[in-house]
């Protein structure tokens, strides 16, 4: 249920395509652990998600339970995965983006302020549109958070993580505070160091063909996804602008129709009605494109980055391993601290091999998921557009019949 005068609670759950679940990812969900977001509440400046779990695992006290979580707690969970050395060999599911209603809220506020300067119909219409926009953003953010949880739940290793279980079960506030300034600064520097290091490490040619190939592929793929994502955003924005224009045209035609005393008045009114309906359809088309195409691309932008991070960690481990080898050779040559060097070298070797093994599987899974997701979304998008085109066509044809009959 959304507050702030927006009345559209259960609606988003009753979508025909049962929307949010696994929109961008093709996941095997099994009965042992099923996670979803059953409800969400939007308050002044935060969103409260109700995380609902169904599980037959013995780890949990009950078979079915729900807790309320906020965005910061999701981020905490994600970061705990990233920082865990044990998971270095896995693609960490990308964190969901922060819910961002600022733009929408601003528009609603401006609308409220400008209420006096427009007619009642215009105001109601614009309010409805803005509410629909708000709802769309809301649905999207719920979907992204849900996908994150589902990915974790589907991962054979991550699903067993203790933090994850606490996240799902602990029915009180996790008291996770957002990072303060100092920590944010630390993060920033960490990222700088990481990217610099990443460049150095990337220059090292890999012995393994598979990984060498993956490296080049991922780099190129990531950049192209970024480009495609940006371009699809622009395309969808143009679409929305055009839909807004059609809205204004429909209003003008309506006014003209009511004022005209000639034959044209019925004509104008009918065409105005038609434009209203087609505009609604165009908005739906833009929204579907947004969900199925733009979000898909954005998601794979983040996942390909996570995959790149994995490769970086592996390369880092490789470099460490090579360095350890060199140190061991030096120690053997000097015959000093040999045991220490040997242990360290073995650790590095072990770490590197472990990462390599799991990374290979992860990357193969990544490809499978990606291909399936793209195929599924493109087909669904085409089906939806087909449905809308049919609807549009019908409207146009019936309107034409009426108009031609009148002339």
């Amino acid at each position: 249920m959304m507050q702030e005068g927006l009345d559209d609670g259960p609606d988003f759950l009753s979508e025909e395509d049962r929307g949010p679940r696994a929109v961008n990812v093709d996941l095997q969900t099994d009965a042992t652990l099923q996670v979803d977001i059953s409800d969400a509440l939007s308050e002044r400046d935060k969103v409260k998600f109700t995380v609902h779990t169904k599980s037959t695992l013995p780890n949990f006290k009950q078979n079915e339970f729900s807790v309320v979580r906020q965005h910061e707690e999701f981020i905490w969970l994600h970061d705990s995965f990233v920082e865990n050395e044990e998971y270095a060999g896995y693609i960490i599911p990308p964190a969901p983006p922060r819910p961002d209603f600022d733009a929408s809220r601003e528009k609603l506020q401006k609308l409220g302020e400008g209420e006096g300067s427009m007619t009642k119909e215009e105001f109601t219409k614009m309010k409805q549109e803005l509410e629909a926009e708000y709802l769309a953003i809301f649905k999207k953010t719920v979907a992204m958070h849900e996908v994150f949880l589902c990915r974790v739940a589907a991962h054979p290793v991550l699903r067993k993580d203790l933090n994850f279980h606490v996240f799902l079960e602990y029915n009180q506030d996790l008291s996770v505070r957002g990072k303060n300034k100092k920590e944010k600064l630390e993060d920033f520097f960490k990222n700088v160091v990481k990217s610099a290091d990443g460049v150095l490490v990337a220059g090292v040619k890999d012995v393994d063909d598979f990984f060498e190939h993956e490296k080049t592929f991922l780099l190129e793929y990531h950049n192209r996804v970024k480009d495609a994502s940006a371009k699809s955003d622009r395309m969808i924005r143009s679409h929305k602008n055009a839909a807004d224009d059609i809205n204004r045209i429909a209003s003008s035609l309506y006014t003209l129709g009511t004022q005209d005393s000639t034959d044209l008045c019925k004509f104008f009114l009918k065409v105005s009605e038609l434009f209203e309906k087609t505009r609604k359809i165009e908005s739906r088309v833009a929204a579907d494109e947004d969900l199925k195409l733009a979000d898909l691309l954005k998601y794979y932008l983040r996942e390909s980055q996570a995959a790149k991070d994995l490769l970086y960690r592996r390369s880092r481990a490789l470099v460490d391993y090579e360095n350890a080898n060199k140190a061991l050779d030096k120690a053997r040559a000097k015959n000093r601290d040999v045991l220490q060097a040997e242990t360290s070298q073995q650790l590095c070797c072990h770490k590197f091999e472990k990462i390599s093994e799991s990374a290979k599987q992860e990357l193969i899974d990544f490809k499978t998921r990606r291909v399936a997701a793209f195929r599924k979304n493109l087909v669904e998008l085409a089906e939806l557009e087909l449905k809308h085109a049919k609807g549009n066509l019908q409207l146009l044809q019936s309107c034409l019949v009426v108009l031609k009959g009148n002339t």
Binding site: D227, A228, S238, Q259, K367, V379, L396, L400, L403
Partner: protein, 480 residues
């Protein structure tokens, strides 16, 4: 075929009182128009004027055409019969004009750049196809430049606007657009500009000849037919004539505000309101439509960019044949999508242009209403002056000054004549406007209906093609 005059005249007793013009009077039938009536001053005018007749040659002589030509009756000739107008019903007038069915098609084509540098200009070929005997031949063409069109409009405006005819406005000048063409920039925007102008000129000419009175105007005929046309220099924006025009327009605007007319005719008040509303709404609609055309163009560009990007993405997905196939398919289909969007946009662009034309037309209509007000003002001024003279005459009589009295009497008689003329002018312009407005409204209804239906039909086509595209994508992806 007779050259029909726009105002019909009947012979009959000259003393019938002026009645409300809008009544459907049952006057004597129109056949009497062509009877040999000794009082009918238009007997000459209704004779067939062959194109080689001496009258016409006079008109076609060089130099600016006289403001009032013999064929269209100057106001002063109508004097004795003005009262008869009130007996003509409008339906009959329309029938009269419809006697000669309108069969004419004008096209403006082949824009050609002539000359170089800042003196360069675009020459357009104006081709006319018609079966009307008004013209020398059935199929002919001439070369004209933009200032020729402006010259034609300014001549027609000076002849007809002040007596109440709605003269279609000429397309607007564009210094920026023309400069680009002169400088020789052969890019898409200057091509678009030339095309936009060509289309506007064609619409302008068609509107002008659709008007039954304007069609027969010798300036129009000369414009369409004669191979050489004297250059209309006073149409240049920055010439002294241009500046004078601007000053006059400003002065007129000020004058208009000071005229307070006692509108006795509700029809005019209602129509004035109607056109004011229409003006406002059409401008708003025009702005929205232009904005939509712009956004659709943007959409088409962005779709193309996205298609390229998606194709590249598919290419790097070399792991699976499916993905590459899908992306190639997506690229092709998006390109088709773009083509269709462009097509739909072009038709919508016609709607936008039509709205622009009508915004300007309505300005012309409002101008005609203003002229009526001015005519009324002139008549009222004449009456006031007459009153003053009467008072002066009375005073003279009182003071017994016979010579001055005679002079005053003469002046008064002249003034009375002028006042009567003023009244007749006013009635004439009112009547003309009624007819013009009814014609205008008919055209407006027809134009809008046609364009909107055309646009919707093109939309239907686009939607159908989109359906096909989506079906193809689905089939393709499922088959893998």
């Amino acid at each position: 075929m007779c050259v029909c005059v726009c105002v019909c005249v009947q012979s009959g007793p000259a003393s019938l009182p002026a009645e409300d013009i809008s009544t459907n009077s049952n006057g004597p039938k129109q056949d009497s128009l062509f009877d040999d009536d000794p009082e009918d001053l238009f007997a000459e005018a209704t004779e067939e004027v062959s194109l080689d007749s001496p009258e016409r040659d006079v008109l076609l002589s060089d130099g600016p055409s006289p403001a009032i030509t013999p064929i269209t009756p100057p106001c002063s000739l109508i004097t004795p019969h003005i009262d008869m107008f009130t007996h003509c019903s409008f339906d009959e007038i329309e029938e009269e004009e419809g006697g000669d069915s309108f069969d004419m098609h004008i096209s403006v084509s082949d824009p050609e750049k002539v000359g170089d540098g800042m003196n360069a200009y675009m020459a357009y070929k104006v081709s006319t196809k018609t079966s009307m005997s008004l013209f020398r031949s059935q199929d002919f063409s001439v070369k004209r430049r933009f200032s020729d069109f402006l010259g034609l409009h300014s001549k027609l405006a000076s002849k007809y606007l002040h007596i109440g005819y709605i003269v279609p406005p000429a397309p607007e000048k564009s210094i920026v657009g023309m400069t680009k063409v002169k400088v020789g920039k052969e890019d898409q925007s200057s091509n678009e500009f030339v095309e936009k102008r060509r289309s506007a000129l064609e619409r302008y000419l068609m509107r002008t000849v659709k008007h039954p009175t304007l069609l027969k105007d010798p300036d129009v005929l000369q414009f369409l037919e004669s191979s050489e046309l004297p250059r209309a220099v006073s149409t240049q924006a920055l010439s002294s004539a241009g500046i004078l025009r601007m000053v006059n327009k400003a002065a007129e605007a000020v004058n208009k505000m000071t005229i307070k007319m006692n509108e006795s005719d509700a029809w005019f008040e209602e129509k004035q309101q109607h056109f004011d509303n229409l003006d406002l709404q059409l401008r708003k609609l025009h702005a929205s439509v232009e904005s939509l055309v712009c956004h659709r163009r943007e959409l088409s560009v962005n779709t193309a960019l996205f298609a390229k990007s998606a194709a590249m993405l598919g290419n790097s997905e070399d792991h699976t044949a499916l993905s590459r196939a899908l992306s190639q398919l997506a690229e092709v289909e998006e390109k088709i999508d773009q083509l269709h969007q462009d097509q739909a946009n072009a038709d919508f662009y016609c709607f936008s242009e039509l709205l622009g034309d009508y915004v300007r037309l309505i300005t012309a209509v409002k101008g005609v209403f203003d002229h009526r007000m001015k005519t009324w003002q002139k008549w009222q001024d004449g009456q006031i002056l007459l009153q003053k003279k009467r008072e002066a005459e009375a005073k003279l009589q009182f003071n017994n000054k016979p010579e001055k009295l005679q002079q005053a009497k003469d002046e008064m008689r002249e003034l009375e004549g002028k006042v009567q003329q003023g009244e007749r002018d006013f009635e004439l312009i009112s009547k003309t406007i009624r007819k013009e407005v009814s014609r205008f409204e008919k055209e407006r209804v027809k134009d809008f209906k046609t364009i909107i239906i055309k646009y919707l039909e093109s939309l239907v086509q686009t939607q159908q093609k989109q359906k096909v595209k989506n079906i193809i994508i689905i089939i393709f992806s499922i088959s893998y």
